[in-house]
Symmetry: C2
Subunit: 345 residues, 2 copies
């Protein structure tokens, strides 16, 4: 059927629609440059629940419900929820799916989860296996520190390459062309293609330097997308990476340049955009929630409003675990990319 | 396009082919009733590597390579590898994908991973997004005990409801109808449909009683498949669950009966089949690897040889984490199901 382009990329002939999105973030994120764009900003990052993990799951569930409510739908109306998070055994997504009671496809792509979910859901929608589905991803500063680093009570100082895990959940509803919807969703956004990432590993072993670990994967997937499609970087209004942060972004430019592409004129990084320098998050934001809330609150509305015509959304994940780091393994990473375009129809 | 049947099920008009499978297991599994059917049985469950986790990843990588070698293919020939495992951040699959260098779609469905992977890959294949892809799932007794329970050195006694996590990796290659293949793969096996599971939670909090936690999910998905398709259990030669074990199997029969279906005459459980009673594994096997190696070594060759005409493969996963159990959460579970049929073509 000729939907594959090159070795890693594909096109979506029916151009599935992104019909709604929602974002739910913590207080620090709400105080950042994108604060006014988020749907919900919580003042207490436990949401009054017993643990950060429970709060993270509730945030993801809430983002999914909110994205659906904007198009006057409920969880029972969707064909499936596809999502994940950073925690062991993706409990944030699993417990959210228990509450939503929709069919659930759990995925793990670390911070690339949102893009992995969007490209896979879009392929399934293009093929007629879904009329309406929701993609979601979440992370939480406090649950991530517990999972990957040190107890917060230790007050460990962040090294100069560190990024702050975003407390936030984003959700995106994807519909087939034929479905009629009401409400205040998007009318002009379509997923037209994408690129499935390969795992890259440049031997980085410092779990406080995720940007360096993930930059090779971002470069690999972005260059594969450009090469598979035979297009220059400027084909896109913006190429938006997940959360390389300021240090990883510099590496990305070098790596792309070594493959023959200059992307700096069209590139933005969600990890750089979500926090202001005076917020002292060192190299910026990270976590599944980072690019999922920036996509949901800034990029998709920007496409809907005509600020961008064509965006490559390349989220990037580090596939380490606390155990693999203890065992001295390096940090493999992966990036998946979705082509998201404006259409008048 | 009418590929959805009911709320959770779907059909695959092009009937993607299962063209090859491979299984790689540990010594205890090799000494069990299915021992002669496995492709590789290792005598040392570290494979000579530094950790059980590294060994598990190597087993999964080896199973993928072996499944491909049977059809004279290599990892570079596939469109993607989709898989997962039980460990935090699915490091077995992630590190295997690093070595394979195929595009990688990481998923997490606990012990339902093999079915989740097969149905998702089959949908993507049916739709033309893949000509040849590999699904894989793995687990390892020793890495799982470390992840979920107690250090092996403690010699903790297993309670009467416990199951033994299978040390094993299974891989299944799925091809579109149009691809021409050589070698000693399967010629008569097709995936014709499936059912996407919902998360069920009956409030079980005992992490040593996975069968009871997962039986409701198996019943939900099996009954959804029968109901969505309007068929009786006898439509299938066998309905094969992942790893409910002997205790969970009894619960499954009760739950299906309460929904109007008697399945015991056509039902088998991989967790019950993989070990013999004299192996003292209490209620049987569990883990992603359990149903993936039983599928790869017993069920698929059985379909190829005409022992079965039509099988519902319903793998079942418990979506707990060590942390969620410590926080007093109950154990949500999910089951996904693939319809696998014999065809002469």
């Amino acid at each position: 059927m000729g939907k594959r382009i090159g070795k890693q990329s594909f096109i979506l002939p029916s151009k599935p629609r992104i019909v709604s999105s929602a974002s739910f973030v913590g207080r620090t994120e709400g105080e950042g440059p994108l604060g006014k764009l988020f749907d919900v900003i919580c003042s207490d990052d436990t949401l009054g629940l017993d643990s950060w993990e429970q709060a993270e799951s509730r945030m993801l569930e809430s983002a999914v419900r909110l994205a659906l409510s904007k198009i006057e739908k409920e969880p029972r109306d969707i064909d499936f929820f596809m999502g994940g998070d950073l925690l062991s055994q993706i409990i944030s997504a699993g417990f959210a799916a228990r509450e939503l009671q929709s069919p659930f496809i759990g995925i793990y792509g670390a911070c690339s989860t949102m893009a992995e979910s969007i490209i896979t859901t879009s392929m399934l929608t293009d093929a007629g296996f879904s009329d309406l589905a929701v993609c979601g991803a979440s992370s939480h500063f406090s649950s991530s520190e517990r999972e990957f680093r040190y107890p917060l009570e230790m007050g460990t100082q962040a090294p100069p390459t560190a990024q702050r895990t975003v407390t936030g959940s984003g959700a995106v509803a994807i519909a087939s062309s034929g479905v009629r919807l009401h409400g205040l969703g998007f009318s002009h956004i379509r997923v037209t293609g994408g690129t499935i990432g390969k795992v890259c590993d440049y031997g980085i072993t410092d779990a406080s330097n995720m940007g360096a670990a993930m930059a090779p994967a971002a470069a690999s997937t972005i260059c594969a997308n450009l090469s598979d499609n035979g297009i220059p970087p400027e084909y896109y209004d913006r190429i938006i990476t997940g959360d390389l942060g300021s240090f990883g972004t510099e590496m990305l430019y070098e790596l792309c340049y070594s493959k023959g592409y200059r992307i700096e004129n069209v590139h933005d990084d969600c990890g750089v955009m979500i926090f202001a320098p005076e917020q002292k998050t060192v190299c910026g934001g990270s976590g599944c929630g980072c690019c999922s809330v920036v996509l949901s609150s800034l990029i998709l509305p920007g496409i809907e409003n005509g600020d961008y015509e064509r965006v490559l959304f390349a989220a990037t994940g580090a596939l380490l675990s606390p155990l693999s780091s203890l065992q001295g393994e390096s940090i493999p990473s992966i990036s998946h990319a979705a082509v998201i375009e404006r259409s008048e129809a």
